[in-house]
Assembly symmetry: C3
Homo-oligomer: 301 residues x 3
Amino acid sequence: MGNPQADIVHHLMASYREIGGINHFGSGDLPAKGTVAQWCEDLLQLLFPGFFAQGAISADQLEAVTASRVESLAGRLRMELQRVLRLDPKQETSEARVQSLVDEFLLQLPAVRQLLRSDVQAAFDGDPAARSFEEIILAYPGLEAIAIQRSAHLLHKAGVPLLPRMMTEWVHGRTGIDIHPGAEIGSHFFIDHGTGVVIGETCRIGSHVKLYQGVGLVAKSLAAGQALSGTKRHPTIEDHVTIYAGATIVGGDTVIGARSVIGANVFLMQSVAPDMVYALGDQEHRIRDRQSRSGKPAQKP
Amino acid sequence: MGNPQADIVHHLMASYREIGGINHFGSGDLPAKGTVAQWCEDLLQLLFPGFFAQGAISADQLEAVTASRVESLAGRLRMELQRVLRLDPKQETSEARVQSLVDEFLLQLPAVRQLLRSDVQAAFDGDPAARSFEEIILAYPGLEAIAIQRSAHLLHKAGVPLLPRMMTEWVHGRTGIDIHPGAEIGSHFFIDHGTGVVIGETCRIGSHVKLYQGVGLVAKSLAAGQALSGTKRHPTIEDHVTIYAGATIVGGDTVIGARSVIGANVFLMQSVAPDMVYALGDQEHRIRDRQSRSGKPAQKP
Amino acid sequence: MGNPQADIVHHLMASYREIGGINHFGSGDLPAKGTVAQWCEDLLQLLFPGFFAQGAISADQLEAVTASRVESLAGRLRMELQRVLRLDPKQETSEARVQSLVDEFLLQLPAVRQLLRSDVQAAFDGDPAARSFEEIILAYPGLEAIAIQRSAHLLHKAGVPLLPRMMTEWVHGRTGIDIHPGAEIGSHFFIDHGTGVVIGETCRIGSHVKLYQGVGLVAKSLAAGQALSGTKRHPTIEDHVTIYAGATIVGGDTVIGARSVIGANVFLMQSVAPDMVYALGDQEHRIRDRQSRSGKPAQKP
């Protein structure tokens, strides 16, 4: 060990040769978390002009600013698409396909904006603490999460691998809200607080749905792993449903009927009919004086 | 579609004209997440001198460094206040009011420091894994969250819109701890781990209160939305209460009495007297051998 | 108040003198969150070459790139170690000790890579939504959390204070997953989604263990605080155990036996034998039509 640093490099090189699957070299760039993050931030500026930027935009400048943002976003999306399509041998990677993916994505952004407008309205209507639309756009993590998911969902539907997941994972890291790009979500969607929310790949969610922090819409028999790939594994939530904090709803055949309300901490593996309230009943609690040692069980008073 | 990029810009401009409420241009700067984030980081340096900075400060330099930090923070707070006050037509936006908001905020920081000193002590006393005060300041997300909330609370009480929420949302993104700037919180406050904690706008929390991850202190009838704005909707927690992980306490009339302990995963919509332990009773569990298919219900052994 | 800014500085200086324990000056640098964050990002590049970097690495360049990364990481680790060892009067801070800590840490990275390879495999096998190893490395927060924890655990075992906790807290902030550097974790470890997971300092976890979001492996009698420092306070999880979302397992004597499955939202303070399924039984629910006001309790249908 005359030169520990040389030994370290030597052992690492041996490890890079011998342990496969977690190295990537000699075959072109991967998308990097940093560039995907920057791309998502710029996408938010295009979706909410005047927000998420450092300086004001005058009405005169708007068209020029928009044209320059579109050009820049398109160029970087083209580059990320080339990186991710190359990773999957089944993908067509021609210049023409990449360009048409880019164009189609950007042409759908006005439709995404229409949905996001409905999401801002739903947050304002649903939260007595909300003071203004500006507050919702600048300080509600749920809005950031759904803005990125709605965008990533377009790329997911177009068959783009990896990049949509990196986008939703970027916003998961910022907000604690993990929505798979595969999930189909209707208008007027509102997640309050949001930390710990998980929405699985094959969820279908109607319009005017409201979720609180810690809600999981997850898969049933996770033990089966890759064998379940591609099947509907996550719940269906119909229109105007509200699900309170910490509720977990499981399984691909589980349907929460329209206008139903699911209480906090409920764990559900079956469907609920429309127009129901489904909450925890009186749980048995152990209530005792801190001085006593006995701790008799007691019904919740 | 001879020029898809021109089409994209054209459709976006139409969207910006037609879909209102999620655009902001032609009317001055908004506060930006980036500048609020930087301002919060600098505020932490002023609150904990020598921490959160890249280099050491000698005792001689401290006064000069402090003066320069105060000047820089004051200038940037003035700018952010001008931005947010302009958004609300009911606000007085004169130079004199802005300056007095800035001065009063900064003059209260020594009192904030006194509270934060008590919070560090509470974390050290409450967590056997804590090795030193330095560890708590540098590696406990709960301390960062309460430092920003205590500061944002001053601006919230002074009637400043939006900015206090952007501050607490910045630290929510970093820590998973969501404390509304409106919440009133006593001394010696300790949140351990903290991810998923939600503390609502009208909570009142006494001194020596300890919360674990996933605790929600939330509102009851959230369905009523904006109609409830301004009413007391969130619980009151008296002195020396401990609330374990995942417990949810609901409603503006709910009071947890002094020195009581609330167990993990408890869901509570009623008050608890002082000096009680309130925990989940023996829940019915379904316990079976993995080989068997029957799955008889069984009491927890 | 002729000069409020001078008053502010004056009061802050008084506060810095009078309120001890939350200031640090005149005694050398502390580790800073920013430099620890950058160091962790660079460590991930060394562990997963070709990932986490902006540009591609050709096979020819790999050895030179690795040597330069090792040199840079070693230099910065030396600096961070000097900072943290100085904080603890019981630590030996000689140049020789620091150098040997650095060398030993880096020489163990190939063994860490072997474990991380098994973790990537476990994620791929366990999640039907996973499409490729690249997706797991680039978009699964659980992998980032365990990569940093496995590295921080080496420094923790070597007796380094503070720095290991700052590393795991950095990744906690990014992922919502809080694993103490003291926890001992076997191979093929998979955390899905992960937000809200807490794994305490004295946990022992076997191989092929799978955890979902919100799982807590926590201490029992937290009220005792510092008196419990150093004792085994957190559970033992044997090989091939799966623990579903939101389950909380408490206490240092609690052992979850090999191949057992713990259901979602279960709260457990006792051991479970091997090969068991331990889930919530039929909870009583309160189910009613939204129109009715009565709300009769009902068994889950």
